[in-house]
Every structure is written in C-alpha cells, then in structure tokens.
Symmetry: C2
DNA sequence: CTGAAAGCGCTTACAG
DNA sequence: CTGAAAGCGCTTACAG
C-alpha cells in the first residue's frame, strides 16, 4: 500500500505527470497550458479513482505559494462566544476549500505573538484574529508585510486593518436605555478593566446614556481584571449589593461576567433579581432559567464569521489590501421567561 | 521585503544551504551529518535573526513526510463539552510542537468521511476523532493504512483502534444509584436514540442498576433523535411529566439533553424540580442556578485531551501501532446550591 | 569542517 | 495534443 502520487499514476499509464496534473485539476482544456485528449482524460480520472489517489496539499501549497489555510487566533475556544464564532468561520471557510487552524491566546499578548509566528511558519494564507490587549504590534507586524488579516469582535482604532465588529457603543446605549425605560435609576456596570477599544465603547455607551438621563454615578462602575476574575467579581457584586442599597439595575459587559455575576448575586441574595434588573452583552444558557426578563445584546455570530471569511478571501485572492471595517447590527433580545 | 529562505541566508553569507539548515536545526554537531564551525554557526544564527527568517513548515513537512499537524474531527465545536476537549487537545499538542486543524461533523457520518479525506490531503500526521454513528468504515479505512488514529469520548467496540474514554456503564450505574439512594422510585431516562456504544452503555448502566433495585420500567426510557432534538425532547418531557404522575427522577444522558430538558420541564411546571430529582451526564452552566441539588457525571476533560494527544504521539513517533484503550475515571459531582 | 546534489509531490511555462 | 524540465523551500546521504 504505497503512497500514490501523480507520478505513480503517470507511470502506470505510461504518460507524463503534466497530463495527470492537468486533468486532475480540471485544466485539460486550458488556453495557455496544454490540452489532453478526451479519452486520455477519462482514463486518468479512472486510474486516480482506482488507485485511491489523494493529492498532497503540502506539495501543492509549496509550489503555489498558497496553503489554503486560515489561521484563527482567538482568546479561548472553550468560551461559548468564541466557539460559536469558530464554528461559523470554519463552516464558511470550507466553502472556499479552506481549512482553519485554531489557536488560543488566553487574552495574552505574548501568546498572540507566539501564535501568529507559529501560524506564519505553517504558511497560512491569512489570519482572522480576535486581538488581545496590547497585541497591536503583532498585528501591525503582519499587515506591514502585506499578509492578509481580518480582526474580529474587536479592533485597534489606530490601526488600519480590516475588521468585523458590531457597534458596541450603540448596543451599549440601547441596552442601558432599556434598563432606564423599565424603571431603573441606579444602574451598575460590571466590565473588564481593559484598554481594548470595544470595552471602552461599551463603557462609554453606558456612561453617555445614563448622563443623558441624568442618572450617571461613576461609583457604580466596577472594573474587574481578567486575571483575577472570580475574586474581582465577588468584590464588585458585594460592593454593589451591600454598600449601595439603592441599586436597581446591573449591566454586565460580557456573557462570562453575567454568568459569574449572577451566580454571585443569587448566592448573596436569592431574591436579588426581584429587586435588581439585570442586562448583559451576549446570551448565557442560564438566562432561560431566571424567572425575570433579562435583556441582552445578541451579536450576529454567523454573519460575523461569514463576513470575516469573505473579507479575508478578498484580500487573499486579489491584491486589494484596502482596510474595510464592517459594523454589523446587534439585536436587543430577551430570554424566555 | 522578499521572502527570506534558507537559500537567502546562504547566499548572503556565501556558504551552502546545508550549513544553514544544519545550524538552524541545531544539528551542527551531528554524528552522521556534517558539522559546522562554532563561529560560522553563530554567524548563521545571527543572520537568521537579523533577516527575520521563519522556516517554511510546508517545505519541511513535504521533505520529512511529517506535517506536525493533528487532524481533530469532532461533532460540533460549539458544544461546550467538545470545545473544552478541543482546548485541552490543543494546549497539549502545542507542547509537542504540533498544530491542530479542527473540523466538525455535526454527527454526520458523511461529513466524517469528507473531513478525514480533507485532513489526509493536508498530510496530518494523525487523527483524534470523536466518531459518529455509522462512521466505523471511515476509521477503519485510516487504520488499515496504518495512519495513526485515536478515538476520543466514544469508540467502536469491534474496531481495534486506540481510544480514550470513560467507563460510561459504571458512571451511569453510579448516578442512577445516586437517584435511587435519594429516594427516587420512578426514574425516567432521556437519551439519544443511537447505535453508538457509549450511549448504549449509558442506557445499560441505568437499566441494570434499576433492575438490581427492582425499579426498572422500560416505558420510562425516552429516546430522542439528534435530528429532531427539540421536538423529541418536548414530547419526551411531556410524556414523562404528564402521563406518568408518579415520576420522581429523570436522568439526562448528556448536557445538551439536560439543558433542553430542564427548560422544557420548568416551562411545563415551574415547581417540577421540587417533585422530580434530576441527574445528568456532564455539567451545564444552568445547574448552578437551580435551587435543588443536581448530581452529574464530571468527565476528566483535561486528562482525556492529554491522554489522546500522548497516545497519538506515541503512534506517530514510533511504529508501535498497537491499539490501547484508556478508560479514565469520571467523578460524580454536584452543583452548588 | 563544508558543499553539491537529489528528492519530497506538486504546477506550469516552454518546447515540440 | 503531449512531455521534459524547472522550481517551490526544505533535509540529508554522499563526497570531498
């Protein structure tokens, strides 16, 4: 059971590898390149089938200078939001005959540098990256060398790179407004302490919306750090619940934050949700089990994945390296009570 | 900004590519192959650094016949269990300098065939596969050609292939017994209708344990189909809750089933959990928000990923293709109430 | 200690 | 209509 290559087939049939390659790539009728007779073409195809020929994509990639592989750099594949994103990126890449190598950064810029380097060695044709805090230089390093890159979910505003994001500021205002409309007057925010632009936008949306209503109170903003998440959330919830009896709403800036925050809230006070209305960015499975309405921002994950792949493909297939930022619409939705 | 190859460096330094390759691979002191002088070696390393040389893994893979890539074939990356598994497989593969290409089958055997083929063309050195129902021929097709394969989470009992699984039968008995011990007498089972061995084991564990207690009632087993999941679960819950007033326990055979089943249960009757005790395979985030104790089987996901990678590496690096089945211990755990 | 050369499996410009 | 040959970027047996 030897490895069967194009050469094996050629020898078997007593013809040239050229003919075999041409036919198997459907180029036997090409203009510039040679043509192969109809019956010979059929013979080749049959032989390939019989011998279970499978092309070697490594060799093809080496010759063509294209690996037909996308490097996906995300924060953490075990986070449901990113897992969903990865799923859709993959499904869509497949339609272009592209494979996806997934790597995790765990929100570390050092790992981001490492992962982009590893993927580059593997000759990926382009990158889809969920950029981390302080990871800007590594993205710039890629684009400077004209390597196709599309950022997703987040982006660096000062960097001229294609990106697929949602309007975080607008979504944040919208959901904050929703809390206000439903009667909340003292709305806390639990958000990551981060230099990332989308976090700032979420914060600004909340701040501006509350200011417009004359309800802004900076002491109700609790910033937690990714590295000490569990501890910080405990403290944040504690301080919002205990120290401020008037609190009647909490906006969680991500699904992880809402999941952990809700646990802590309900642990501290099982009746907390009857006094405090909760809203969140992204959905969590747990929402469907709360007995109160929870508005959340539903990001259009399938479209985000699709757009990112398409933007990247355009960069790969053409020389059009112009940076395009696609802002998709997020929806305000509610859990089923 | 031209692509810098080993040749570029060689020309720059006026030496042979042999020397450059040897040094950059740390083989300048090799026994059989040539040796390179110390100062020349240093010069080469420095040039590589200065020129930002990155090796081309495609070329290396083609020459070596190894791509240092693992093909991961799972059912669905957006399922939390598999996402976690993928995460740990990746983290561990990285330690061996291996990358992971992830593909989804969505539980379809046809996609399994397609994905293994695609990954083979990409010259992956081995496969880690969560096998689907009726996917046996495609796994056999790989092993027959001596391609390294490790099955994970599930396996085909008749196929002699390495696998990393847990003792589903035992875990199922254990958790069923737990329900019995806590007083349940009429325990329903909601499980996938599937020919997959691990599902049968979960079912058998439940059946045998109940028989031992004289509590077995076949009409309490509800098998749902993957393709009509939502509808089937509705029907199953309906029939367990409505038609059988005596039911006092339900064992869900996977986390997806328990998540959807719980939603349906609580929708039908918000007080359902005070009358019916629930147990599950695998944890769901929602459990922490239930106000009752839910025992669940915690699979050792990090160890599963680690073992699978190690088994595969052994197959790849040695000629030892002997099939090894690793059965890991699952833990019975509880949500925090 | 060092280099010329073959070859991994492909694609394709070039020459018949 | 068809084939011989070069070359993608590596590694390594072989010969000096």
């Amino acid at each position: 059971m030897e490895r069967v290559s194009i050469k094996t087939i050629a020898e078997q049939l007593g013809i040239s590898v050229t003919a075999v390659s041409l036919v198997l790539n459907g180029k036997e009728r090409g203009e510039t390149s040679g043509r192969v007779g109809k019956e010979m073409a059929e013979k080749i195809r049959q032989a390939a089938r019989e011998m279970n020929y499978e092309p070697n994509n490594l060799a093809r990639g080496l010759k063509m200078g294209r690996s037909e592989t996308i490097g996906l750099v995300i924060a953490d594949i075990s986070n449901l939001f990113f897992a969903n994103l990865a799923f859709h990126i993959q499904e869509h890449a497949e339609k272009f005959g592209y494979g996806v190598i997934i790597t995790n950064t765990n929100e570390s810029d050092l790992k981001m540098e490492k992962m982009t380097k590893i993927l580059e060695r593997r000759q990926v044709d382009g990158f889809i990256i969920v950029p981390t805090e302080y990871g800007e230089p590594y993205v710039r390093n890629l684009t400077r060398r004209n390597i196709p890159v599309v950022l997703i979910d987040r982006y660096y505003p000062k960097l001229n790179v294609s990106a697929v994001v949602i309007d975080n500021y607008k979504a944040s205002r919208e959901i904050t407004n929703n809390l206000v409309e439903s009667g909340c007057r003292h709305i806390g925010l639990i958000i990551y302490k981060s230099a990332l632009h989308h976090m700032k936008e979420r914060k600004n949306g909340y701040v501006d919306e509350l200011k417009d209503h004359g309800l802004f109170n900076p002491s109700l903003i609790k910033e937690v750090s990714y590295s000490y998440l569990s501890e910080d959330i405990d403290i944040a919830i504690e301080s919002l619940l205990m120290k401020d009896e008037t609190i009647d709403g909490i906006f969680f800036a991500t699904n992880t934050l809402s999941l952990m925050g809700l646990k802590r809230m309900l642990h501290a006070d099982p009746q907390a949700l009857s006094k405090i209305k909760v809203a969140s960015f992204d959905k969590s499975d747990a929402f469907d089990f709360m007995h109160v309405t929870i508005p959340y921002i539903q990001q259009p994950i399938p479209e985000m994945g699709k757009s990112a792949v398409e933007l990247l493909m355009k960069q790969i297939k053409t020389d059009d390296k112009e940076a395009v930022t696609i802002k998709l619409q997020a929806q305000l939705e509610y859990n089923k009570v």
